[in-house]
Symmetry: C2
């Protein structure tokens, strides 16, 4: 029974990845004029013309093509596209004077925002390490390591632990409040875990392993809710929970009120983030050679909270966010949470073999394939109503791009193949 449904998932995922998603990007993102990638496309997949290149979009696209190449797709063409992106990163976005990468440029490669944002640098390390793993080009790992070294020097908080996140061009810390210099976030620390994992995979260096272990412990002991194991979005420097505010520098369109506050700003967690954290933690443990059992309690809490409260069992998909105890605040369906829940539920099912995880995968998979993906154009819509009607319609901008959608398909395919093989062997 499961064998059939798994095979069907696999077929859908493979077809979407190879016939819709990767061709969407291959056919339109390479900027032959100015280098790097075009990453703004409207609902029909046409260049929507925004004159910007963001550190996140450039690095994520390097990641996308590197990871797709490493997973065996593209017959070498994706390695070339990744290299094209790395050239732009190193030649245009790297700040040779102060070190680190600029946050935002126009398409010609002129700096618009020269600040050094930790979130962006997590994707520098992640994408450049993946690029070297995929292609063997040593430049990726070299600059990933230089970025790691800069963060250890300028971003660590040697009083309370963890990392500061928002810096001026010269790595002096930005001010408090919306400038973000006095806050620490789940988002940045989780993506550092993700980045250090791939950096360690590429380098094998003990220091990368050690900092990865430290940030895993930090996430589990301080950033996850002590009772529910759910992610707490924002903290003060000393790890007291901070009310969630909107920063001047944004990389997503989280919903805030006009004054930049959340209505439930101190009791708010994202189901998608929690599941993403859990599968990224499992992946980190795989790379580290540590058994999942060491973090069994955390992993189960992350997955089960999403299954119990985040999955929409009526319309499918996963909600945006809710309280730590379970009450759902926002029932809309954003693209990236769906992507992360797909991978995470396959991991949970693979390891804990509880059918509820496969049911949660199914509910999300169906919502993604039946409502979220625009099969006509090839990419995912950014935001739908609970029932699946479009709210936002663009196919890509600086913060959406391709990292969540392509990774979800590449990684789901790998996991579905494993599950199918295991079922075949157990027959």
């Amino acid at each position: 029974m499961n064998q059939e449904i798994l095979a069907q998932y696999r077929q859908e995922v493979h077809q979407h990845l190879t016939e819709e998603l990767l061709p969407f990007w291959e056919n339109r993102c390479v900027d032959r004029t100015h280098g790097g990638f075009i990453t703004h496309f409207d609902k029909d997949g046409n260049d929507s013309g925004e004159d910007e290149k963001s550190l996140i979009a450039q690095t994520r696209t390097v990641y996308t093509f590197s990871a797709a190449h490493r997973a065996g797709h593209g017959d070498g063409r994706y390695a070339d596209i990744a290299r094209h992106g790395v050239d732009f990163l190193l030649e245009k976005m790297w700040d040779a004077e102060h070190g680190g990468f600029y946050w935002l440029m126009n398409r010609r490669g002129e700096v618009l925002i020269d600040e050094k944002i930790a979130y962006g640098h997590s994707f520098v390390m992640y994408s450049l390490s993946e690029y070297t793993l995929a292609t063997g080009d040593p430049r990726g790992l070299e600059y990933a390591q230089r970025t790691f070294d800069l963060l250890q020097k300028y971003a660590t908080d040697t009083h309370y632990g963890g990392y500061f996140e928002m810096f001026h061009r010269d790595w002096t810390l930005k001010g408090p409040g919306a400038a973000g210099g006095d806050r620490k976030t789940l988002d940045v620390h989780m993506h550092f875990m993700e980045a250090f994992t791939t950096l360690y995979e590429a380098s094998g260096q003990e220091i990368h392993r050690r900092k990865l272990l430290e940030i895993i412990e930090l996430l589990v002991r301080k950033i996850m809710h002590p009772e529910y194991g759910t992610g707490i979005p924002q903290f003060w420097a000393d790890w007291r929970v901070a009310p969630q505010i909107k920063f001047d520098i944004v990389w997503g369109w989280d919903r805030f009120s006009e004054d930049g506050f959340k209505s439930a700003s101190e009791d708010n967690t994202s189901y998608g983030h929690n599941v993403e954290f859990a599968w990224l933690l499992m992946h980190a443990l795989d790379v580290l050679g540590i058994a999942y059992d060491e973090y069994r309690d955390q992993l189960l809490k992350s997955y089960d909270h999403a299954v119990a409260y985040g999955i929409d069992w009526e319309y499918g998909g996963v909600y945006v966010e809710g309280s730590h105890a379970g009450e759902v605040y926002d029932r809309e369906k954003e693209f990236w949470q769906q992507a992360e829940v797909l991978i995470g539920m396959l991991d949970a099912y693979r390891v804990y073999q509880d059918e509820k995880y496969l049911k949660a995968y199914d509910a999300t998979h169906r919502f993604v394939f039946d409502h979220l993906i625009d099969h006509r154009v090839g990419e995912w819509k950014p935001l739908l109503t609970r029932q699946g009607e479009s709210i936002w319609t663009h196919m890509s901008h600086s913060w959406k791009v391709n990292y969540h959608s392509v990774r979800a398909m590449v990684q789901s395919l790998i996991r579905l193949d494993k599950l199918i093989q295991r079922q075949a062997e157990s027959v």
Copy 2:
């Protein structure tokens, strides 16, 4: 009245520094054969022949001659001696492969212990920054900054804050227990504060200022006793108090039982360390441009605990150590605590103008000048009984050398001159 006694102190200090102490070192420590410094002298000031050069002794001697030159002594000769020591540090003790400085060599410059010890690197930063401030030679600051960068990369604990302290040559963390890889100490963190202060003074860089502010907060909030404000010697990585143990790598001869434990291993504080911490904190605040009042409570607790329990009002001098609440455990008189109490009590008197501090200075000054200094030879004895009889007799070894004795005289002279000038102006 005070004017007379201050003038007498000044005369004694000046004479000892310029006619005994600095000549002692100038006349015998420069190793013209192998470079660097000879730092082992017996009770008569003769080379006692130990075939070792330690990172601490080499850096401290660089500090000593740099600081003496900067304070106006030696007519330029001390700058030359400091440069001679820096040459050896950079040419022989620097590990070009892994970065950082070896812990111990023989006199010919062959490595005996290649481990990277944070305590030694604190004196690298301190001495090389002082050297550049004194001479203008940029090599000092360059290597101080490289050392700072290495520590930020390899030594910080990004989970709990603070710094790990004991590393193998390649900066992988040493094991637990006596290897020291699982502990954090007052000693290292206090000397990092001292080193970052002079590094920031020399560089003016925001990152050095920021890390100095972080370590000050860490010391005051986590390392000092929450009630008594006294220093707690050892912690686990997560800042729970750890029983004080003896490490495999030592830089002093603290008294432990045969099995490496203290009898009062979890309730033990050093009067000398506490006063050293207080005056180093005042100096850091001066360099940072922050008012002492920001840390008034901490400063007064540090000074007053030593005055109330540490000073030997009968025989003079300061005891070795006791409980946080006040009970004295060890009434012997070691050289370095006397040195630090001299500077600290002059600072306390200068700022708070309470005569008790001048009395504590007097008790220590008289003990030092009447018992501790061997005026015949020119240096300080290492350890006396409470009453002032010699226990150990050597004039120098790898851990004693000249940093405490010369610094106490250079810094006391500066402070006495200020006090004398203030009194003269107030008449």
